[in-house]
């Protein structure tokens, strides 16, 4: 199972090699980056349905650090690496309007390394270190354009991110002081013997605060509406689509279900966080005129759906949450890439000034139609199925109130998505001078890849093709409970 280590070692080595080699020939860095992302995407598909435990340095479990591959992490790996491949292809042409592209590729590959490291980590402190890599790379990438808003948004995001990392480190200190080990499997075993003593409860509370700030759940979401719009389009696609899930929701699920043991108290916290984020995100999104800021708020509400699904704790709820996680990653990054294309073509993101882009930007128009349809939950598209499963699970688990709120919010989502479509793509064309003669090939290729992803994901349920990695990923997280040693 040496394949597991490739997920971290390959992008890291490439990031450093690019910094050294690319000063002479910048074109080389385009090829190297996209070749690495392609191999990562292929390996992630290869890792489906495999279990793996990789002891680093050859040491047995509690002494050394080990990487753990199970269906839940292979699902996350596929999501991370496919979206980063699309964003990588997109940024070949999009980043031409920025300087020092080699540094951009270095930071982009380090962001992918950090997320892969978090998803595969079997050791609590190691998870913290790779979380820091992904977070620092995203602080720098948000401030890549060095404009007024970007610097300020990146500073606010960096300060809140550092405070939440410090909370997570205090939580790790308490867990170590009580259980004596850092290996997540051994911690889970110790906690099921000792039970939740007060220091562990405080550690769990600190983890909830720290990781829900990374996942932008509502009481801690202040940084997201500023950071995502001001970042370059491929970066905000990665941040919104994948980062808040890989280092936020995934870690919360892993901690609640596999490390701290499923308790009704923990699930209730997650449910309420989810519902509040759902409602607040959607209502705030409805009032926005800036495309990217609207999509940022809608990310908060969609992550609220996932948190609600996880919080139900029933197998069906988990299936819905993980299915929605994959769907949201694909269509939200697609929408952000479309917004980037619109911004670069017309120079503005304001809905009131946009109009009639369907004729000038055919590919962007078509793919963003698919993206909006699936996020709004129109039947044939994948958004509809995952929200339906979550709502059914909420009804089955007896939370009628949450189910009705979920239905209402999906209608509000439909409203503001149609608003974007109507204003930007179908309204009467205003006299907008588009600087592009025709859409760049690689950017449209990236958008088509993601649009194809949306359609492919919707076939998961329609044709009854219950693919193995999605269903037993949910079962494995829930039923296994304490880590399979």
């Amino acid at each position: 199972m040496t394949m597991i280590i490739l997920f971290i070692a390959l992008p890291l080595t490439m990031a450093v090699v690019i910094q050294v080699l690319a000063h002479q020939r910048p074109v080389l860095s385009d090829w190297l980056t996209n070749a690495t992302l392609l191999t990562l995407a292929i390996i992630s598909f290869y890792s489906v349905g495999r279990y793996g435990l990789y002891h680093i340095g050859g040491w047995t479990t509690p002494i050394g650090i080990d990487l753990r591959l199970d269906p839940l992490s292979s699902l996350l790996l596929i999501v991370i690496n496919v979206v980063s491949l699309a964003a990588g292809l997109y940024s070949v042409e999009y980043m031409r309007s920025y300087t020092s592209k080699t540094h951009f590729y270095g930071l982009f590959l380090l962001l992918v390394t950090g997320m892969n490291g978090v998803v595969l980590a079997g050791d609590l402190f190691n998870l913290y270190v790779f979380l820091e890599i992904a977070a620092i790379a995203s602080y720098a990438l948000v401030a890549f354009g060095c404009a007024h808003e970007e610097l300020e948004a990146s500073f606010k995001y960096a300060v809140l991110g550092t405070v939440s990392s410090t909370f997570i480190l205090i939580g790790i200190t308490f867990v170590y002081a009580v259980t004596g080990t850092l290996n997540m499997a051994q911690i889970a075993a110790r906690i099921s013997d000792i039970g939740m003593t007060p220091p562990l409860v405080l550690a769990f509370g600190l983890f909830i605060c720290g990781f829900s700030l990374k996942a932008a759940l509502v009481p801690f979401h202040a940084w997201l509406p500023d950071a995502h719009p001001s970042a370059p389009a491929p970066v905000s696609a990665m941040l919104s689509g994948v980062l808040i899930k890989a280092i936020g929701i995934y870690v919360l699920a892993r901690l609640i279900f596999n490390v701290f043991g499923v308790g009704q108290g923990e699930l209730a916290v997650l449910r309420w966080l989810g519902v509040i984020s759902m409602v607040a995100g959607a209502l705030l999104a409805a009032g926005q005129t800036d495309i990217k800021r609207l999509f940022a708020y809608s990310s908060i509400s969609q992550v609220g759906y996932i948190a609600l699904g996880l919080g139900l704790g029933t197998p069906l709820g988990l299936v819905g949450a993980l299915y929605h996680l994959a769907n949201h990653a694909v269509f939200k990054s697609l929408l952000f890439l479309n917004a980037g294309a619109v911004e670069q073509a017309t120079g503005t993101r304001d809905l009131d000034k946009l109009g009639g882009l369907n004729r000038t930007l055919p590919v962007t128009g078509a793919t963003s139609l698919i993206g909006s349809m699936s996020i709004a939950g129109i039947p044939p598209f994948n958004g509809f199925w995952s929200k339906l499963i979550i709502i059914l699970a909420a009804v089955e688990a007896g939370f009628m109130g949450f189910a009705t709120v979920a239905v209402a919010i999906s209608i509000v989502t439909l409203v503001y998505q149609l608003k974007v479509q109507r204003h930007a793509f179908f309204a009467a064309p205003k006299d907008l001078l588009t600087t592009w003669r025709q859409e760049p090939r690689l950017m449209s290729l990236a958008m088509v890849v993601l649009a194809f992803g949306c359609i492919a994901l919707s076939f998961l349920v329609v044709t009854g093709l219950r693919t193995p990695f999605l269903i037993n990923a949910a079962q494995e997280t829930l039923m296994r409970g304490v880590f399979g040693l």
Binding site: F125, A143, A153, S154, F155, K156, V163, Y176, A177
Partner: protein
């Protein structure tokens, strides 16, 4: 009692982050918080009257293991100190760049975004 003192150090940092209006003061409070956490980590691994975890040829292994302090938190703090320095370098770069753009460190005047 010693633990609560180190917790106090963390809380002073947290208080500083919430209250200060100057960007560099926020960065300074973050560094103080990091210092507090590192102190807490080392305190957790201390053994009363313990020795540094460095083997000297005379003492036997079992005796050494009985006296030595816990090495794991020290390794974690070493890693976390240098992470803190990296984050500090990034935050100071942001503050300097913000100063160049807005001409001030004051957060209230930088408030261009309606976050």
């Amino acid at each position: 009692m010693i633990y609560s003192l180190s917790l106090l150090l963390i809380l002073v940092g947290l208080y500083g982050v919430i209250v200060s209006r100057n960007t560099l003061k926020i960065v300074i409070s973050l560094v103080i918080m990091e210092h507090g956490v590192h102190l807490l980590l080392i305190l957790v691994g201390y053994r009363a009257g313990g020795q540094p975890p460095i083997v000297d040829p005379e003492t036997a292994m079992a005796v050494f293991a009985g006296q030595a302090v816990d090495p794991l938190p020290q390794a974690l703090v070493l890693t976390s100190i240098v992470i803190g320095l990296g984050v500090l370098a990034l935050l100071v770069a942001l503050c300097v760049r913000l100063y160049e753009r807005y001409g001030t460190f004051d957060v209230t005047e930088i408030r261009r975004l309606r976050g």
